[in-house]
């Protein structure tokens, strides 16, 4: 019998080698990949030196939509592709804009004429020089000039674009104060049709490859116009399970991972620095202002008194996070009004009183819809349920899929209350505040306040920066006073960074800038 097993084993071994032979005929990856560096690891911790010119970054979400920057919708995709694309101007870590594809620009006093000078000799990743034609193509594509709906409706205000040598003049029908923010839109080559799978831009890194649910590889773009990136090769590893992500970090296959929670970072012993930024979003218990009982301002105020935001931050987030009182976060220092944060201090007695006044002496039952795949919101919801018990309100969590959330809650407004985080992906206060105007299609909370609408209309067209800022601040105050939603926090963004790796820069945007990272000697 032994012989038979031996024979079986031999046959299987042969089959194995056969398979191996077949496998080899496929194109091999270029040598010197990260796996070569780490696979031979013996007992010593994974050496940083082996990575000197490369970095492995763990991401929880695959770039599973179009890579065409004009069509990509997922925040996770935009976060990573930030390294590949640039617009005429690009954001700085301070929240300002700096010239990028344009080397210089001027804005006329009435805010109706913009002049851009195309940067001399700037190249796309495919080696072609950026021509004025590419710039026009990229902007027109977002204006809806091709007959489709405009990707950026604000650009419909553009009356005319005139190119004169390396100078581009844009004239508007009416002033659009945020126009420059919109012109961070990626400049793409006009005659290239594989943008959605093999994108080409002008950023510090060029896209190399993407393997679905596995990895995305980028390499330094050596002809970059600005300061070149310090690390030559970046591999983004897609790791969905946080357990596996932590194992990868500790095992040495991942050098950097963003968006961790404090419980998770607590598990990473030595070998990592934990850097704290903020997510730049407004996490809140968003209330459907059109349905009972949240159509009653007293009820909304009662909830605001009855929910202890610091308590949520302490319990569910180990104290990391900045409490908020309105739809604005501190990174927008210009617009942020800190005094609104404690407008409703935690006061269950007051909350009960207000409920009584509103006609709910015995409290009521409500439903909190949460996207079940987003743990921070689920966690916050669990704490809120406990806190609301104190004021006699029975809350029930209704976990749903992200797709259903988008559809039912955000799209069709079929919900009572929900927890989510709202962001501004183009660094404008307008994006955060305008959505509460009663006639906005994305006003999913159905907030309806005449004063607010007036303020919003005035703010959008104001060309005077000071006046506009004042209007935005009034809008914030309006939201707080009417307790439009129960504001919680700007969540902390904890980043695990392998020791020896420096240069991590936080932006007031949901992006990861790899070009500033470097391995210290």
């Amino acid at each position: 019998m032994k012989k038979k097993f031996l024979a079986t084993a031999l046959v299987l071994a042969m089959a194995l080698t056969l398979f191996a032979g077949c496998g080899k005929s496929a194109p091999a990856e270029p040598a010197g990949t990260s796996s070569a560096g780490t696979s031979s690891a013996g007992n010593e911790p994974a050496p940083a030196a082996a990575h000197a010119d490369e970095i492995n970054i763990g991401i929880a979400q695959d770039l599973d939509d179009s890579l065409d920057p004009h069509y990509a919708v997922a925040a996770g995709t935009k976060e990573i592709m930030f390294n590949v694309f640039e617009g005429l101007v690009k954001p700085t870590p301070e929240g300002n804009l700096m010239p990028a594809v344009a080397s210089d620009y001027t804005v006329s006093e009435d805010g109706l004429t913009y002049d851009f000078i195309l940067r001399d000799g700037i190249k796309f990743h495919n080696g072609d020089e950026v021509e004025m034609e590419d710039v026009l193509y990229s902007i027109e594509r977002n204006m809806g000039s091709d007959g489709n709906e405009a990707l950026i409706p604000a650009l419909e205000a553009i009356k005319d674009m005139k190119a004169d040598g390396s100078k581009l003049t844009i004239t508007l029908d009416e002033p659009v104060p945020e126009l420059l923010n919109y012109l961070t839109l990626a400049i793409l080559p006009a005659d290239y049709d594989k943008q959605d799978t093999a994108p080409v831009g002008t950023g510090p890194y060029k896209f190399v490859s993407r393997v679905a649910q596995d990895n995305i590889v980028m390499e330094r773009f050596d002809d970059y116009w600005g300061e070149p990136a310090k690390i030559g090769k970046v591999t983004f590893h897609v790791v969905e399970k946080i357990e596996s992500m932590l194992l990868g970090l500790q095992g040495g296959s991942i050098d950097l991972c963003m968006h961790l929670t404090s419980t998770q970072t607590a598990q990473l012993s030595d070998g990592f620095n934990i850097e704290e930024g903020s997510m730049n979003l407004v996490q809140a218990l968003y209330l459907n202002n059109a349905v009972a009982p949240f159509d009653n301002v007293l009820v909304r105020q009662a909830l605001s008194y009855g929910i202890d935001k610091q308590g949520i931050i302490d319990l569910a987030f180990d104290g990391f996070g900045i409490p908020l009182g309105t739809s604005m976060f501190p990174s927008f220092a210009k617009y942020y009004d800190d005094s609104l944060t404690d407008y409703y201090p935690y006061d269950p007695a007051k909350a009960k009183e207000l409920l009584k006044e509103a006609g709910f002496p015995d409290g009521f039952s409500m439903e909190i819809t949460v996207p079940s795949n987003y743990q921070p919101h689920v966690d916050a919801a669990q704490v809120i349920v406990e806190q609301l018990k104190e004021i006699g309100v029975t809350a029930k969590i209704n976990p749903i899929e992200w797709e259903s959330w988008l559809n039912d809650v955000y799209g069709n407004r079929q919900f009572q209350s929900t927890i989510t985080g709202l962001t501004s992906d183009n660094m404008t206060a307008r994006k955060l505040l305008e959505r509460f105007r009663s006639d906005m299609p994305n006003n999913f909370t159905n907030y309806n306040n005449a004063d607010y609408d007036e303020l919003a209309k005035a703010a959008i067209v104001s060309t005077n920066d000071e006046e506009q800022t004042a209007l935005y601040r009034q809008m914030e105050k309006n939201l707080t006073e009417n307790a439009a939603n129960v504001y919680i926090q700007d969540m902390a963004d904890l980043v695990a960074v392998r020791k020896g790796l420096s240069g991590l820069t936080f932006y007031p945007l949901y992006v990861l800038d790899v070009s500033t990272l470097y391995w210290a000697e």
């Binding site: 398979f19 091999a28 990868g248």
Partner: protein, 316 residues
Amino acid sequence: MKYTAKKIVLMLVTMILVSFLTYTAFELVSGDPAQAMLGTEATPARLAALREELGLNRPFLIRYFSWLGGLFTGNLGVSFSYKLPVWQLIAPKIEVTLWLCLISFILITVISLPLGIWSYRRSGKIWDFMHTAFNQLCMAIPPFFIGILLSWGFGIVLRVFTPGNLPDLHAHFFDAIRYLFFAAVCLAIPRSAMTVRMMRSTVIGEMEQAYVRTAISRGNDRRAVLTRHVLKNSLVPVVTFLGQTMAELIGGSIVVEQVFGIPGLGRFLVASISNRDYPVVQAIVVILAFWVVLTGTAADLVNQRIDPRLRLEGKR
């Protein structure tokens, strides 16, 4: 030959049924793929154009058969999410999952068959109890729990492999196999326990047969009877069971690939389901189901070689 032919016909019928069920199910839930692909960009004109381009205006059955044909020519449509041909996306993942299952299958065979025979020889009351208890214990541990413990122990403490980074199968073949080995162990443990139990009870059952008693009473060595007759006769149910094992491994790989961060079919399937990337889901589901049907039929055919009686049964 008739038996073989019948089995293959049955297999094809099942395959067609499986693919038809899958196709219909997704056809019903996925709604209009053109709408899904265009999303918020949808305008009536663009929808109509895309429908025409995708051939959605054709009758249902025609679409089904052209999709079925695509399964064999590799033309499975385009992923909603990645905008890439489905086949191009899943081909490398099939390779990874196949290796994982193959290693696991070898492990199960190599561990459990000798162990099954060995455990038969230790058939006292105490042995019996210990055996059953250990067996039940192996089957009671959730596989992902074993996976986490294994990657913790071998990946972090002993550093035998680097969790979360499967080396490239072509460039670093042996590193990749070593990585997959641990995931395969995790898959193999509960199934090995079942195989041992199955093997053991089959051998015990066979040893109680009259022919064995006769052979032994005629003075044949017990051991010789075991190897010469009993094992050969026990082989049929074991092969059937191993055929099912191949199918179970495919199911188990869905979980294990998540734990070990292996970019295989199972993980891609889970992600595609949550993305509602139906062309990908459809293709993977059918490939997995075909795999199950295929291994089942293969086991039947092997059995027919081993035990000619089965050929007669086929005629019945």
